[in-house]
Subunit: 341 residues, 2 copies
DNA sequence: GTTAGCACTCGACTCTTAAGAGTGCTAACA
DNA sequence: TGTTAGCACTCTTAAGAGTCGAGTGCTAAC
């Protein structure tokens, strides 16, 4: 049996209706809804075929049909094939140009959740194997030295070091030169024990400062490993009865709160090299345990210097995919452009 | 009518039983539970009195009684009066000494939530009216200047400034001196437009850098206003049926997610000068809208240099107050000691 | 002051019933 | 051969009736 045009039209009608109502869709509804001018009986026949093909399901005998994961998948794929949707009628999103990235991303998550009425997540950009760019030691007061470490991608880390006695300007300068000469432009792997020993020796009685700086450098470089993820719109789960029963809701909310569980999603996305931009996971396709009853739509954005991050929407399988894709694309573009202009 | 010893014993028995079960408590249960050796009929009489006094409620005729907010209040007050509970049998909490404060606090929230089975929040410490301590400009590469701003309490802010053309070492040094001379030791209020204008004039063609730094300083000083709050254990709300219905849960979760809404709580706590350490809000006493069906127990911790923060537990009114208080005290002490040893 | 007893109340649960939506199948029609 | 009308059947859902039991308030006796 083949999926001909008419069958697809009916499938589409079923899905659209189900997206709105969340209730199983009956043959009569479709008979009236579409402009095919077919009786409910004919629709019933076609529906039986669609069921046999695996695109729709019957929750129980004598209920209407609901789309299966496979059905959604077909629908989404077709939709994505269509020409890039115009984004014109969307109301302008105001991403205020805050200089603090985390504020911006928090705001982005919130906006996504508000616009779509689903739950949203935004991951901070991940950096690729960082090189050290610059180290600066400064005296803050007689007992404290501030070490500022700048890593490729302009990630900055500060550490306050405590010293037993005040350092002279000269000593500070010497240490600054020592550190920068040895370490600039190096990656984690390139900084080895031999170098560290040599530097400590040169630093003499101030070797503890060198040690402190090295620790901070290590931390600054590996900082990308604990991934920052912002979420918003948790309460939207309650808007969809199929997600809102205690057990499911509790699981979803935990997954959403324990942001580490979402990192799978981010990894999955960033790993996919030929990622065209938007990724849709339906039901069991999800890489995130505990969201098997949901659909997840994600996009990958890229800031300057190869820093990539992920934004995503989590909602019921009967999600308004078009709206969601539109929103994600829009935000993705905004983020892509952010540091490019 | 007076609340005599026997009435209080009965009230206590009602509350204790209700804490466990969450079900209205009947007279027969109390008659068996306490060692007063009173028949259910007598208990019924006393209960009628307690109800008249406002300590307990009847959800409907012919149901048992549940404690009123006033009842809880009495119970909690009496409990707090009792000698400081020993904390001995508590299993040791492992607060690994991470140097990153936010990690530590996140972990603290998680631990609280796990230990108590309620939802937990931890606010990052707030600083009091900050003075500028130190400014440092450094050249990162030919087009970028890094401004590091250190504020009293060793709060550090970094800003990357972009310049049209490379600055000489000499210019940089001059700017550094200019900024530090004018601004060090000043508060937000003390930096006025006249000063800024004077500095810009002295900076000549580099006045845009001065402007950039001033902006960053403003932000660093007011940074305490957008308060960082960490939460954990949202799913625990689902453990208590009285909080788990859709409407309530949705509201609670939103409140918990929109951390700004919790700031009331923190403010309320920090404002209270003669705060002995633990604060209990029952039902309507809460300063947080949308948590009127909950009880909230908070503690204030204090790090070095007068930096204060709040930790808290949010749960149903029938909360195990003793356990919660114990946990909060323990964590408070750990945090208090953190930078003191 | 305490208790036993009794009538009464009211929510929770179970069972039944009816309505309604929707199906599959068959037979007739174009 | 594809489409449609009709009908018996299935299954869910909502409403109603009845029962159970926990718990109360009140009264009268100890």
């Amino acid at each position: 049996m083949q999926l001909d045009e008419r069958k697809y039209t009916i499938l589409q009608a079923i899905i659209r209706t189900y997206l709105e109502t969340g209730e199983p869709v009956g043959s009569r509804t479709i008979s009236k809804y579409t402009d095919l001018n077919l009786s409910s009986a004919t629709i019933r026949n076609e529906m039986a075929d669609l069921e046999e093909l695996g695109y729709i399901l019957q929750p129980h005998t004598s209920a209407g049909r609901i789309p299966s994961d496979q059905g959604y998948r077909l629908y989404v794929d077709k939709m994505m094939e269509e020409k890039e949707r115009e984004v014109e009628e969307m109301k302008e999103i105001l991403l205020e140009k805050e200089d603090k990235m985390d504020h911006l991303l928090k705001q982005a998550a919130k906006m996504l959740a508000n616009n779509t009425e689903y739950a949203a997540m935004v991951s901070a950009p991940q950096y690729h194997r960082n090189k050290l760019k610059f180290i600066q030691l400064s005296r803050v007061d007689s007992r404290h030295i501030l070490a500022v470490i700048v890593v490729e991608g302009n990630v900055i880390k500060n550490t306050m070091l405590t010293v037993a006695e005040e350092l002279s300007d000269e000593t500070l300068l010497k240490l600054n030169i020592l550190l920068n000469t040895h370490l600039n432009g190096l990656t984690m792997e390139q900084i080895n024990l031999g170098m560290i020993a040599a530097m400590k020796q040169q630093a003499g009685i101030h070797s503890d400062i060198v040690a402190g700086v090295i620790d901070a450098v290590a931390e600054a470089i590996k900082a990308d490993e604990d991934l920052e993820i912002y979420t918003s719109g948790t309460k939207n789960f309650f808007k969809y009865p199929e997600l809102a029963d205690h057990e499911r809701a509790s699981e979803l909310i935990t997954t959403f709160e324990e942001k580490q569980l979402l990192s799978e999603l981010v990894q999955d996305n960033l790993a996919d090299e030929n990622n065209t931009g938007i990724q849709v996971y339906i039901g069991n396709e999800t890489p995130v345990q505990g969201m098997r009853d949901c659909s997840i739509v994600t996009a990958t954005y890229e800031l300057d210097e190869g820093m990539k991050g992920t934004i995503g929407i989590i909602g019921p399988k009967r999600m308004d995919y078009e709206k969601v894709v539109k929103n994600l694309k829009l935000l993705k573009n905004q983020l892509d452009d952010l540091y490019r202009k």
